[in-house]
């Protein structure tokens, strides 16, 4: 039997906020690894 859940507005809003924050952190990590790679490959670090 499949159970589905209908969240309240407050639950939806906080979930959206957490998703945005996680997205920002992941994007920052991508940028961080990119910059570190450039520095290390360039022999600047």
């Amino acid at each position: 039997m499949i159970e589905t859940i209908k969240p309240t507005e407050a639950q939806k809003k906080s979930r959206r906020g957490r998703n945005v924050a996680l997205g920002v952190v992941l994007a920052a990590l991508v940028a961080l690894f990119y910059v570190v790679t450039i520095i290390k490959l360039g022999g600047m670090g």
Partner: protein, 318 residues
């Protein structure tokens, strides 16, 4: 298919428990105020260390140290949720307030610990990463899980975890430890008891109510005040040592001595407070000054270091 509608007029135990925690609640788990001190002292260690580091790599190092410190704060809040719920100072933290579940905080803390140590190791060096891992372990396990609830020396020994950041910052540049980085460690290590016991004096009922063996509750107010003076004297003395080892100049030494003298005067004012004083004005002043003192000492170290570099570079032209 069964649909559970949380909008429906269900009793709380019939609703499916979905998190209402926002990103801000998770940020609060990182103890941002403690983190600011960690960032500042780690930054000082990084700047004062001999040698150089790429500025971007240096910024990433500071970020990793900050996140690692925050992660240990989250692990501390996970373990201490039971006592945090009782104390007025901590009852509104995300876990006792019910905004974040303990297992979420645990997962958050462990994930951030792993990422901060791994990235510091991969990007900077593994010695600094090892020190960061040890600091997180020391705060979360040695202090929080073991010492805090078992001995009044909890914050004396546990204070080491707050003293490691400048050493980690130093290790990011040099890849090791030296006398100067140990002195930076000692300044914070010796400062912590005087700083924290001033707080414990006017919050002792809180700690007593949850059975935490803080010094004022176990040894009494008088013994705590004796020790506050002793640690203030030791801190003031060690804070002058960087001028003796040659890390910075004697201008800093004089400034640190003056700041230290005020620190000692504050501690003597606490010592002179009558036992059982309800207002604890001197203890509150000591606590406020202790924060200012540490920021001033590390700011002065940085300023003195750069002043000498500038004199060394341009002095010959004058």
């Amino acid at each position: 298919m069964v649909t559970i509608d949380n909008h429906a007029d269900l009793r709380a135990e019939e609703q499916v428990r979905l998190s209402e925690a926002g990103a801000r609640d998770f940020f609060e788990l990182l103890k941002p105020r403690v983190m600011s001190l960690v960032v500042f002292t780690a930054f000082a260690g990084l700047l004062l260390a001999p040698g150089s580091i790429n500025p971007v790599i240096g910024a990433i190092a500071i970020l990793c140290i900050a996140v690692g410190a925050g992660a240990s704060g989250a692990l501390n809040m996970w373990y201490d949720a039971d006592i945090d719920a009782v104390m007025t100072r901590t009852a509104r933290r995300p876990i006792p307030a019910g905004r974040i579940r303990p297992e979420e905080a645990l997962a958050f803390g462990l994930t951030l610990s792993t990422f901060s140590v791994a990235i510091l190791g991969l990007v900077v060096n593994w010695f600094a990463a090892g020190l960061l891992a040890f600091t997180i372990f020391f705060y979360a396990v040695v202090y929080t899980m073991w010492l805090k609830r078992s001995t009044p020396q909890n914050i004396v020994i546990g204070g080491a975890s707050g003293a490691f950041p400048p050493m980690i910052g130093w290790a990011c540049v040099t890849g090791g430890v030296s006398l100067d980085s140990v002195v930076l460690f000692l300044i914070i290590f010796l400062w912590t008891p005087a700083h924290f016991w001033a707080l414990a004096l006017f919050k002792m009922r809180d700690y007593g109510s949850v059975g935490i063996p803080m010094m004022p509750n176990v040894a009494g107010e008088r013994a705590t005040k004796h020790q506050i003076v002793a640690y203030a004297v030791l801190t003031a003395a060690v804070a002058v040592v960087p001028a003796m080892t040659g890390l910075v100049g004697w201008g800093y030494g004089l400034f640190a001595a003056a700041l230290g003298a005020v620190f000692i005067v504050c501690s003597i004012a606490v010592w002179r407070m009558p036992d059982g004083d309800q207002k604890m004005i001197a203890a509150k002043r000591m606590f406020a000054y202790s924060v200012l003192y540490l920021f001033a000492i590390f700011s002065a170290l940085i300023a003195s270091h750069y002043a000498e570099l500038l004199v060394g570079r341009f002095g010959g032209m004058l």
